[in-house]
Symmetry: C4
Subunit: 210 residues, 4 copies
Amino acid sequence: MTVVYNQIANRSLERIGALSDGLFAIAMTLIVLEIQVPQLPHGSTDEALATALVGLGPRFVTYLLSFLTLGIFWNGQQTQLSYIDRANRDLAWLELVFLAIIALFPFTTSLLAENIDVRLALGLYWLNIFVSGLILYAIWTYAERARLLRDRTGPEVGAAIRRRIGLAQLLYFVGLVIGIVVGTYPAIAWIVLVQLNFAIAPRIWRLHKI
Amino acid sequence: MTVVYNQIANRSLERIGALSDGLFAIAMTLIVLEIQVPQLPHGSTDEALATALVGLGPRFVTYLLSFLTLGIFWNGQQTQLSYIDRANRDLAWLELVFLAIIALFPFTTSLLAENIDVRLALGLYWLNIFVSGLILYAIWTYAERARLLRDRTGPEVGAAIRRRIGLAQLLYFVGLVIGIVVGTYPAIAWIVLVQLNFAIAPRIWRLHKI
Amino acid sequence: MTVVYNQIANRSLERIGALSDGLFAIAMTLIVLEIQVPQLPHGSTDEALATALVGLGPRFVTYLLSFLTLGIFWNGQQTQLSYIDRANRDLAWLELVFLAIIALFPFTTSLLAENIDVRLALGLYWLNIFVSGLILYAIWTYAERARLLRDRTGPEVGAAIRRRIGLAQLLYFVGLVIGIVVGTYPAIAWIVLVQLNFAIAPRIWRLHKI
Amino acid sequence: MTVVYNQIANRSLERIGALSDGLFAIAMTLIVLEIQVPQLPHGSTDEALATALVGLGPRFVTYLLSFLTLGIFWNGQQTQLSYIDRANRDLAWLELVFLAIIALFPFTTSLLAENIDVRLALGLYWLNIFVSGLILYAIWTYAERARLLRDRTGPEVGAAIRRRIGLAQLLYFVGLVIGIVVGTYPAIAWIVLVQLNFAIAPRIWRLHKI
């Protein structure tokens, strides 16, 4: 009997998770590594160092932004994987495409930090978020169709995941529009607020019910 | 039945542990990567290289300091996780905030190494330690309240964890005061000694009984 | 009774997998890190940034190329490991040699990106792919001979793995020939197409039946 | 009842393994990252690139050297861990000290590559190997005394581990002596040969029986 290679490839969900955890951990650390440490002449004052650090302000804002972004997508992927029972090669490649897009965040983060008043930099950062969400959506849809989900995963789980991705992408798109119409700073502030809402999920807001 | 997304998110303790191990491993390695290797002209003598290495002294002191710091917090987080039975999305986000603060250590380490006589650099390093401890404290408190602990985890475990964090933070604060009143070098020496005490936990001292 | 050290060493398949996942995750992230972020003067226009990004074109092409390459070899190694029941020290060292070759991809990727019109750069990139495939082949052959495979792993699995490696290497070799005879750009395009074929495995092509 | 914090800390062998795998994977990748990619002017010839790559020769030699070194210590640590049944806080800290020394290899590797004819650079590289071996020895001795080993781990396992560490360190010390008396190149060649012997363990040599 001849076996087709693609039938035997990539059936380990565990190693997909391990690869993802590694890649997310590195991306989270690299966005700090890109912050250049001020090296003042020997005997400098506290004030001189404070001034130099204030100049790094955009870097710290984009660090906060990107840590939240990476945390949200790590959570999103992990939530999906917890409902998936087994992998196949197509799922493995969809996850790899997801990771390839996630691995770009240190680049788009630095691009935004170094050019924080240029709309194109914000647009590319938004694009990175948008494509990440798109692929997460595609992964879930594929997993449903290919019957890779755990037993007893009712359709309401998929509905919740789709609602969440749709809502998040809508709010990020509002951020992009703010960036184009108003400016990059208010757009970044909006996106950070949206992300904090997803991270903190305050009980008093209606949004966390979605 | 409608499912709220936040109810289904982030229930895997294992992947939180894996992400943390990856991030700690990277942070521990990056604090070495930031030590710039001296490149002497071809045919240099041993003496020339020795002189260049001595100039890197502050870098090695801060490497020792930060490896101890990261080891202590890795141990602290791991000890907590070993008593936690299951995760939920709030715990996952608290752990992510903890990791976001830990990921800053390569930056604050370099900042201190490059500006080792500037008190603000020491103050920011202390702040990094302080906030890390604060979040560990918050994680434990949250896990207790949200009843995420393993069965048979008596209140004496939480008491021991709180005592340890409180004592450590008190001793680090003494280090900060030494830094402000006396100078950065004695402050760093004090903090390293405190950390060595926690790492080695000598049997002859009373401190390890706490 | 005297025990020979080599008999007791390296029997954990799990840790080989974990080391591999870590190394692949880092390699995948580093190939982005090497893309230098354009730093334009304050107040630059979208057009200036777009021009700078277009100049990074070769970098993004080689990023796509190398992410596909790393994904293919990660999948290949993982597929093999899923059929291997236990490790021994020889297998561990073969896997380490495989990882040592994989760890070179960030270097050969940058080399190709920085010298994209130089045939030697393409040749070395091809060599990196070729040796990686060769060692994967050697690992499987060794695992078969040393009877490390899981029970019920019939010879048709090995046949499928060998066919796949052989076919892939043949197609990559065609890419090398194109590079020598025609030029580096068409060669890179060919290799990317070959890799996309393996990744996407389109149902309408006969190739995915092999 | 009061619980002493040190009694409840660090009991997970798994997370020690995971942290180690992450740190080794990063160190293995960073020793490549430090190899600077030649950037020739547009339209350079194959010959120009070949010349530039030959100039990187010491870098590739030290890459080979350090990958072997890291592989040997990863194997050594893993072999030990496979006989250890449970951890405690002292073991965790010994492993952290081991990792702190391992994390220095990218630095000592670069130091040697950039100053390959300076004996002090070789001496520090040897010191890194020596201390790594010393701590592995200490870890095993501690684990035996603290009765952390798995049941049925007879004394012959410990004897084999000690013989292997002792022999390896003796051979590395010969390398150091060659470096001082003859020169750095023959010393590096000797150490690489010693390591290849441990990695390949050729059946025809008597050494692999030790």
